[in-house]
């Protein structure tokens, strides 16, 4: 029992990332009808927002400390980050330690700008072109974006630690009455899961309870009629694209302490997120979220030692296997809407 709970918990953080990316993909697909292969790149750009902020905050002045000498007798060089000299050592150090959560604030304007630029600059011209062309051009864009990041940040993963308040793990098992140390779960993963739930709830609430969201939903259902009613639906869809970019970006920011960001993390997640979207059902937002968590948890179950003993290698292929089975038995995915992506 405790092993099962542990695996479910382990699956949650990856599932959250899948769900957030798949949610953005579905938002874009449902509104603009565009298959966005560059969505993983947006996730990666978000992650590198965190890296950038961390680096900016730790920019330092180098001073010579005459009181301390190194072994050659020269004064020791002391690096003092600017933020520490501006706000005092305690506040400054805290700012640097909390750079990942702070990067969320930083990433929002960045991702909105990137999203607008992408939609207005490129994707707008591809509404009328076939899906294959959309896949290809966004695939090209993804390569370009990831190479730009590689040029500036190098090819190696860059560690970005979580704030020290969240670095430990907590004993979840004790809470449920199991023995201590049976279910140990890192705090940050819990934070990530809660964060993902908040974002998902936020997006759904936005679509469900605001006038803007209502218009967008109407546009998703019947774009032409909404346009005939004198509503500029294109503008709203562009905003939705920016929101989807933001969701992917924030998912990337928060994911950095779990896995050190590198330039190809976006592509790694994208392939799986597409599988998630297809399993959830093209164009269905709840389907994307559900499938994201489901596949994340399935993946973590499949990587249990007991399971691998029976079917070796299952942890590597479980997601694809499930996708194949679902596509063949339920062509529309778990919660796919009728008439979406059907020739």
């Amino acid at each position: 029992m405790d092993a099962i709970i542990l695996q479910i918990l382990n699956g949650l953080d990856k599932g959250s990332a899948y769900a957030l990316i798949a949610l953005g993909l579905t938002l874009i697909f449902g509104t603009l009808g565009v298959v966005n292969f560059a969505h993983g790149a947006l996730f990666m750009i978000g992650a590198f927002c965190a890296v950038t902020l961390q680096r900016v905050l730790s920019l330092s002045t180098v001073t010579l400390d005459e009181t301390k000498k190194d072994f050659l007798g020269n004064p020791v060089k002391v690096e003092t980050p600017y933020v520490e000299s501006w706000f005092g050592p305690e506040v400054g150090a805290t700012l640097i330690e909390w750079s990942v959560p702070l990067a969320i604030l930083f990433s929002i304007p960045v991702m909105v700008a990137v999203g607008f630029a992408m939609e207005r600059g490129l994707i707008k011209h591809f509404y009328k072109r076939p899906h294959a062309d959309q896949i290809l051009v966004t695939f090209g864009l993804a390569i370009v974006l990831q190479e730009i990041i590689k040029y500036f940040f190098g090819a190696n993963p860059i560690p970005t630690p979580a704030p020290p308040a969240f670095t430990g793990s907590f004993d979840f098992g004790v809470l449920l009455g199991f023995d201590p140390f049976t279910i140990v779960y890192p705090y940050w993963r819990l934070v990530y899961f809660v964060f993902a739930m908040l974002i998902i709830a936020g997006v759904f609430a936005f679509l469900q309870f605001t006038t803007f969201g209502m218009v967008v939903r109407a546009g998703m259902a019947d774009r032409e009629t909404v346009g005939l009613l004198g509503i500029n639906i294109d503008k709203r869809f562009t905003i939705m694209f920016a929101i989807a970019a933001c969701v992917a970006g924030m998912a990337g920011v928060m994911y950095t302490p779990i896995n050190s960001p590198n330039y190809h993390m976006g592509m790694d997640f994208l392939v799986l997120s597409f599988v998630v979207v297809v399993v959830g059902g093209m164009g269905s937002l709840p389907g994307a979220v559900l499938a994201g968590f489901l596949l994340g948890i399935l993946e973590s179950f499949a990587s249990m030692a007991e399971v691998i003993d029976i079917i070796p290698g299952i942890n590597q292929i479980i997601i694809y296997l499930v996708a194949i089975v679902i596509l063949l038995t339920r062509p529309r995915g778990l919660m796919g809407r009728k008439g979406v992506m059907e020739e």
């Binding site: 590597q316 194949i324 063949l328």
Partner: protein, 428 residues
């Protein structure tokens, strides 16, 4: 059905040409235009060691020479891969994102053949085609039940599964992360190797790596046995693809691309045709994989990774989907860029811009720096995006547009050989 099919890219060809095409079916059962295209490609590939080595050794431009065996082999092998991919994507419109899996399966089949039976490459290549074909039949049978993006995702899923399995569980067969090489411990049945001797791939005793080097003045031309064998296979594959493009079967595939529903309404089942196209294209990929092994006698699972599948998509698009010569052009272009651009470094740039004032020189180098050396993927991505946005027909369409500019007065005909001429341009 008469041979009235024609390449959509050459849609300008008038009624007169069409009638002519049916009247005189010349060499190899091809019409005049295709024959000349085939002959031009044949001449170009046969003379490639000369054409790709236009700069004398030791000159500053020698780094643009592509006439060394390793690169030339890759040109033709990836050419085969792209031709095969084009038969599926170009004709039926089904975008497979998992084609590298067939290449990998073919490679593994070939290396096992070489390890166990004989070091002769012919059985290895035949086995690679057969195994890739069987695998493609299984994958295609399932994947082709869906179309559009679902088909892309399904093929991607199968390819990623094969990659993951080859990487982990199937290690006894695939060698896992390190892959498979021919080792000194291997003693194939039909070979008389000394104990401890490392076998070499050969064709009836002709070593794949043996080359004849010709020195003319400052130029050094290398004629490699492996390259010529691969080139002959590529020409055969190319000829096959022309025949498929011009056959009733090819016409059927185009009908699937333009409107599958209408095809169904006329009482035709499209599935056997698409499946056949999928298997043929998988066999081409297996052939390419087998040839790869024949050239360098090693294989690793990264050959099946989805980026490798993406690469062949890039090749086909860059050259021109649905055209005959396009994929070969695209493959050559990408492999040339990969090798040559990644070799350029800042010193070379400084040499080029040496005629400029220092400040401007440094500035130019600074601007170009991200696009060269390790940044060649960036160049590739940008070129690819530009092609998809402005030139959906790829290089072939570009060639046609240029050709049309030059001869407005002559209508149609002979545009594709022009595109074929471009093959030389990277080296010139």
């Amino acid at each position: 059905m008469t041979d009235q099919t024609q390449n959509p890219s050459a849609a300008v060809t008038g009624e007169a040409t069409r009638r002519q095409a049916t009247r005189n079916r010349g060499l190899f059962g091809l019409n005049k235009k295709d024959t000349s295209l085939l002959i031009i490609v044949a001449i170009l590939t046969m003379l490639a060691p000369f054409l790709l080595n236009p700069f004398p050794e030791g000159s500053s431009l020698a780094q643009f020479n592509a006439g060394y065996p390793d690169l030339m082999q890759r040109f033709v092998i990836f050419g085969i891969f792209a031709i095969g991919f084009n038969i599926l994507f170009g004709l039926t419109g089904y975008l497979s994102f998992g084609h590298a899996a067939f290449l990998g399966v073919g490679s593994y089949a070939a290396i096992w053949m070489m390890k166990l039976l004989t070091l002769n490459v012919i059985p290895a290549i035949i086995m690679s085609i057969i195994f890739a074909g069987i695998f493609a039949l299984a994958v295609g049978f399932i994947s082709l039940r869906r179309s559009g993006i679902y088909f892309s995702i399904l093929t991607l899923a199968f390819a990623q599964m094969s990659y993951a399995l080859a990487y982990s569980v199937l290690t006894p067969i695939t060698g896992g992360e390190t892959g498979l090489q021919i080792k000194s411990t291997d003693s194939p049945l039909l070979s008389n190797l000394q104990p401890g001797e490392i076998g070499r791939a050969n064709l009836f005793g002709l070593d794949m790596r043996s080359s004849y080097e010709l020195e003319v003045g400052n130029w050094l031309f290398t004629f490699n046995a492996g390259y010529y064998i691969a080139a002959v296979v590529m020409l055969l594959a190319f000829y096959m693809s022309i025949r498929i493009f011009r056959s009733p079967f090819g016409m059927m595939l185009r009908a699937i691309k333009s409107n599958q529903q209408r095809l169904n309404y006329t009482g035709l089942n499209a599935k056997p045709y698409t499946l056949a196209a999928f298997v043929i294209s998988g066999m081409y990929a297996g052939l390419a994989g087998g040839l790869m092994v024949a050239m360098d006698t090693q294989v690793g699972p990264e050959r099946m990774f989805w980026t490798a599948s993406g690469e062949v998509v890039l090749m086909a698009i860059l050259g021109g989907v649905g055209t005959l010569i396009g994929p070969v052009l695209g493959a050559g272009m990408i492999k040339y860029m990969e090798n040559i651009i990644s070799k350029i470094n800042d010193n070379v740039l400084h040499q080029w811009f040496a005629f400029m004032p220092d400040g401007i020189e440094d500035f130019m180098v600074f601007i170009i720096h991200p696009f060269i050396g390790k940044g060649w993927h960036l160049t590739l991505g940008i070129v690819f995006m530009l092609v998809v946005i402005f030139l959906p027909g790829g290089l072939v369409e570009g060639g046609q547009r240029i050709a049309r500019l030059f001869r407005r007065d002559r209508k149609g005909g002979g545009v594709e050989p022009d595109a074929a001429d471009q093959r030389k341009t990277p080296a010139e």
